[in-house]
């Protein structure tokens, strides 16, 4: 039971932060299929930085870890500029742009990882090895049954994500900027008429999306393999998209969707253990979150509707 909660949370939270990024982007009216590529590129930047600075710190110093998060954040943001440029400046089809960015991110990071390893670290390798991040257990509260598991064996990124998610929620729903952002996804003409530049708001939204995706990416890199390699592209970006659509483009329901994925996944593993199925049945467990999503959408998807202006290229002159 505890394992389900601990592992479920450590999977759900990075997913959630990427989905929040997606919400920002899509609530501003820009379709974002690029999360997969953005998280990979972000993770790449974070990992590269961590590897570069690690020698300056004591082996078990957590500083590289936090700096990696910062740089993943920045790296994702940087790469998202490409999506912003294509979608906002060049008015490209947003779905296509997303797909292209995913293709590019994969080939670029793989290529650069090898190049950098060979030329800078003079050690041929197709991955960056990161130190593992320490896991913390909050004393006291962690011994409460069930609830305690939430505070047990936490990755340091989990509270960070929780904090950022709260800020993101706050900004989106409580601040003027959030108001403008959500308005852009409904009626950009209204935003324009109110004297706010739609392009700028959308640019910011896409950048937030890139940043949060990058953050999610580095968290996965740390929590799953403690290194960066092309294995980072295992489809979690797409899962985040499913989560946010499932969550009807709203933050709290999306959290629910992510937790569902997380617990379905960790629960599935426990189930396998319990049923003592041979390892070849593993694949059937992996299918669980996806089947579950489809089923939930069949039952609850009818009421979902995307932001009104989603995917519509904003053209001032259009009437």
């Amino acid at each position: 039971m505890n394992t389900i909660i601990i592992d479920g949370l450590s999977f759900a939270l990075p997913l959630f932060i990427m989905a929040i990024g997606g919400i920002y982007c899509e609530r501003s009216g820009v379709t974002n299929l690029a999360i997969e590529g953005l998280q990979g590129f972000g993770a790449f930047c974070g990992a590269l930085f961590a590897v570069c600075i690690a020698p300056r710190f004591a082996g078990d110093s957590p500083v590289p870890f936090y700096l990696a998060m910062v740089f993943a954040f920045l790296g994702g943001m940087l790469f998202s500029l490409l999506h912003a440029m294509l979608c906002i400046r060049f008015k490209a089809n947003q779905v296509i742009s997303g797909v292209v960015i995913n293709i590019l991110a994969m080939s670029l990071t793989e290529f650069m990882t090898k190049q950098i390893n060979a030329s800078i670290f003079q050690a041929a390798s197709n991955k960056f090895v990161l130190g593992v991040s320490a896991r913390v257990t909050v004393p006291g509260i962690s011994s409460v049954p069930v609830l305690g598991a939430v505070f047990t064996n936490l990755y340091p990124f989990e509270p960070v994500i929780a904090l950022i998610a709260f800020i993101a929620w706050y900004v989106l729903y409580k601040t003027p900027f959030g108001l403008h952002l959500r308005a852009c996804g409904d009626n950009p003409h209204a935003v324009d008429a109110a004297g706010i530049e739609v392009g700028k708001v959308r640019l910011a939204a896409v950048m937030v999306s890139g940043a949060l995706s990058g953050l999610g990416g580095i968290c996965f890199a740390y929590s799953i393999s403690a290194n960066f390699s092309s294995n980072i592209y295992s489809g979690y970006g797409y899962l985040a998209i499913a989560a946010l659509i499932f969550g009807n483009w709203k933050i709290l329901p999306t959290l629910g969707a992510c937790l569902l994925f997380g617990f379905a996944r960790s629960g599935g593993y426990e189930l396998v253990k319990l049923l003592e199925m041979p390892s070849s049945y593993q694949d059937l467990v992996m299918v669980l979150p996806y089947v579950l999503t489809l089923l939930m959408l069949v039952f609850f998807g009818r009421k979902n509707h995307s932001p009104r202006a989603l995917g519509v290229i904003y053209d001032k002159g259009a009437r």
Partner: protein, 354 residues
């Protein structure tokens, strides 16, 4: 040629120039690299050939690789015409190929029966998966982008499960090879002194492209698909059954994807890897765009993209440019062509100013 049909050519040209710059920066000879791509694809002669090989064998092998790409782009295109994004081409390909492999690939059927049956199964299974996506959209309002992504994963893992449990080949670690009778590529056919792979699938692809041109331009269903794709509410108002049209379009799209699947896994290849989806399905989205969303256009665009991917091994062997460069080049081409709409708009504006 219509007004701005040359724009894709222009963007490709621009990307190739960018590619030259990048390759030159890596310290390699870009022109040699490009020439190697052509050589590797059998479009230019190589310096030397192995026994029983020649330009013609490279070219048939290139056609073999081109076939699934063409069909997959066609699949994306048909859905696009109905206003739907089929992100699930890869999954539909795998599902169709898996069923065809199990039902026909491992059977003892003679070639005359097996080959048509493989095509038929590919078409049917692809159409069923595609139809399911269309149905979910129509009946339950599930965005097809999500459902196709989910279907991709589901197909990938379920097929992987069956391969690993029932059909695995211990040496190759993928599904057991299918029998030659079922294979849509005739392998190692001796023609004169050459031994070549002859892709029968290219005929299927050619027919499919022609059929799509006909469907979209000349049939009522094509008209309905276009109407639904560009204005579903107006189409409904005009008495077109929007849901049915969407489901049909997705079935056609899935069918094309299924054909891509059988020509890929039972033609170009002869087995499936567990837990791997062909990247063809994703590339096809961009290839369809590059082809200006027209069936004739995608012949050019899939040709181009296949030259790059097919020639990459030879390029990396000869010019010393890493094979990843090929996918980066593809990425650049797609990136720049995504801006085609912008170029068009600017040109329109400029023209009207004058």
């Amino acid at each position: 040629m219509k007004k701005h049909d040359w724009i894709p050519f222009f963007t490709v040209f621009l990307s190739l120039i960018l590619g030259i710059v990048v390759i030159a920066m890596l310290g390699k000879n870009p022109f040699l690299a490009y020439y190697n791509l052509l050589q590797g694809s059998g479009l230019a002669p190589k310096a030397s050939y192995a026994g029983h090989k020649g330009m013609i064998t490279d070219f048939t092998s290139f056609l073999n690789a081109l076939t699934p790409m063409l069909l997959a782009s066609l699949s994306v295109l048909i859905a696009l015409k109905a206003g739907l994004f089929n992100i699930g081409v890869s999954g539909q390909m795998l599902a169709a190929a898996f069923v065809a492999t199990v039902l026909v690939g491992y059977s003892e059927l003679p070639a005359v029966l097996a080959k048509p049956l493989v095509i038929l199964i590919g078409l049917t299974v692809g159409a069923l998966v595609g139809g399911l996506v269309g149905f979910l959209r129509h009946r339950f309002n599930i965005n097809e982008v999500v459902s196709t992504i989910m279907c991709n994963y589901i197909v990938q893992y379920v097929v992987s499960f069956f391969i690993n449990v029932f059909f695995v080949d211990p040496v190759s670690r993928q599904s057991k090879n299918i029998g030659a009778a079922a294979r849509l590529t005739l392998v190692d056919v001796t023609v004169g002194d050459y031994k070549m792979d002859i892709p029968l699938g290219i005929v299927v692809a050619a027919i499919a492209v022609a059929a799509t041109v006909f469907l979209l331009g000349k049939t009522t269903l094509g008209f309905e698909i276009k109407a639904v794709g560009s204005g579903s509410r107006a189409a409904e108002y005009a008495g077109i059954r929007v849901g049915r049209t969407r489901v049909l379009a997705m079935m056609l799209s899935g069918g094309a994807a299924g054909l891509a699947g059988v020509t890929y896994y039972l033609g170009y290849f002869s087995s499936m890897q567990p837990r791997v989806l062909a990247s063809t399905g994703y590339d096809a989205i961009a290839v369809a765009l590059l082809g200006n969303s027209s069936p004739i256009g995608i012949i050019f665009s899939s040709f181009l993209i296949t030259v790059i991917s097919k020639g990459s091994t030879y390029m990396s062997s000869t010019a010393g440019v890493q094979a990843e460069m090929a996918s980066a080049l593809t990425g650049i081409i797609l990136l720049i062509s995504a801006c085609g709409a912008y170029v068009r708009e600017r040109l329109d504006r400029r023209k009207e100013k004058r």
